[in-house]
Amino acid sequence: MKNKKDQTAFHLMLAPSMVFLIIFSFIPMFGIVMAFQNYIPAKGISGSAWVGLDNFKFMFQIPDSRQILINTMVIAIWKIIVGTFVSIVFALLLNEIRVRFAKKFMQTVVYLPNFLSWAVLATVVMNIFSYEGPVNALLGWLGIDPVLFMASNHWFRPMLVLTDVWKGFGYGSIIYLASLTAIDPGLYEASSIDGANRFKQLWYVTLPGLMPTILLVTTLNLPNVLNAGFDQIFNLYNPLVYATSDIIDTYVYRVGLVERQYSLGTAIGLLRSVVGIVLILSANKLAQKLTDYRIF
């Protein structure tokens, strides 16, 4: 009797969330059929004509599609590599600091950019890298001609990687700092008795101790190779650098919502999420195998 009351309570607690998930997650999944239609808003999904895989065929014929895929992956992979590296280096350096106040202050400062939106940070970035901004002033002082960083296909991608790493490295270091504290201090004592200097300790004690976390975080980053960062690029780019910075997500937004080619936009989005799901599931499997960790 008692238990039955519990079961009812549990169902009731979950009910509102389920309603929202059904409306805003599950019903849109049926909208995916638009990818196989020539969707016309006035006719709706039931009235629009079926076209099979035409949208997908068209997608592969767009001359830009190869470039967009390349852009997405190149930007994302560089962000993952550089971001992981800087986060680890920062955590290792900070770990050496024994002055509590300084440590606390630096942590507070570097976590901060992660909490600011790209809508805001875009202005900050553009101020600093503008044609007559501080960075170009510095270059001029060194005798280098000013560079239009935000409008140059040569510089825009490195700018994306740099500013993304800048925003996220502090936040990314939290997890490494936490696992550094978990390394047995006895190992350091033993190694210093054996005559290991600070660098040797880093190499033979700290890094091996950090390895499981590095492995785990890198694995969990795997699904992000198709996620080059919509917010950042959307707020920073301009038509001058579409060639090197247009990614799948920005393209879907422009084609789907701005140009209102709903079916094509949905088709591209669908292909992206299918690959994304495969990546998430593989990451989950891989993480489980390597480190006994499960995302779900």
Partner: protein, 279 residues
């Protein structure tokens, strides 16, 4: 050496923001001549005075505040109520596995931007503040974070309450919620930041620019620059745009986050560690 590297990394995060504040307090002419670094040049409050009379800015500000308050109430109550039963074993809650699968499917699959837009449009939510709150009301990642926190609560606490005849509602509100408060604080911070920082929702779901929340309003400031296709024009645009005023707008729009940030820091650090390193 270590100190130099650390200081360089730390200052790289601090100086751009200080530069922005300095610009907002500087004289427009000094900014155009790029004389401002970390201290204001010819300090003035004029851009803030202009800002105070900009009614659209304050309207957007209030819409953002409203969105955070409403969003926080809706999201947090939904997520806590959902995470609690999900944290039970399938022995204690028979349908637990079924619900868990629904949640995971919702996390993995999505209709994508355009079908979701169609649903919101179909529900006649366009141009309403609810279009910004309801579609993301159940953030699955946060639900899982809360669920793991509930799971870590010692079972003996609940057993004692059950003997006293407490209902599950009572056990949740008087035992579990107080115990996992640090995690709830973490998720609360994420939710506040998420709502405050989101500009894209309004770009898609709100047609009237006068109803834009703050970040979308800010985002629109640089939209003109984004459509310029000639490098020369881009340089000229940077000269004529009112950079001191824009900087002031950005400073004010970031202030609320900066005010809660120090209080929340210790919570989100533990929250991230607990959420990502399940030991």
């Amino acid at each position: 050496m270590i100190w130099i590297l650390l200081l360089a990394l730390t200052l790289s995060c601090l100086i751009p923001l200080i530069n922005l504040v300095a610009i907002s307090f500087s004289d427009n002419a000094a900014v155009s001549a790029n004389m401002v670094s970390i201290f204001p040049v010819h300090p003035t409050f004029s851009s803030y005075e202009k800002l105070f009379s900009d009614s659209q800015f304050w309207r957007s500000f209030m819409i953002s505040v409203e969105r955070v308050v409403l969003g926080l109430i809706v999201n947090m109550s939904l997520m806590i109520l959902a995470a609690y039963p999900l944290s039970k074993s399938s022995k204690q809650f028979r349908a637990q596995k079924v619900y868990m699968n629904i949640v995971i499917i919702a996390m993995l699959f999505s209709g994508g931007l355009i079908p979701t837009f169609m649903v919101v449009k179909g529900l006649h939510l366009l141009d309403s503040i609810w279009a910004l709150i309801l579609p993301g009301a159940v953030a699955v990642g946060n639900v899982i974070l809360l669920m793991n926190a509930f799971r870590a609560v010692p079972k003996s606490l609940e057993e004692a309450a059950t003997i006293d005849g407490a209902s599950q509602w009572r056990i949740l509100s008087t035992i579990y919620v107080p115990v996992v408060l640090p995690t709830i604080a973490t998720v609360t911070l994420f939710t506040i930041v998420g709502h405050w920082n989101d500009y894209f929702g309004a770009l898609v779901y709100i047609n009237k620019t006068s109803n834009y929340p703050l970040q979308t309003y800010i985002q629109q400031l640089s939209v003109d620059a984004q459509n310029i296709t000639d490098p020369q024009k881009l340089i000229e645009y940077a000269k004529i745009s009112n950079r001191t005023l824009n900087a002031a707008k950005i400073v004010v729009s970031t202030l609320p986050l900066l005010l809660i940030y120090p209080f929340m820091q210790k919570y989100f650090v533990t929250g991230i560690v607990v959420g990502s390193l399940k030991e």
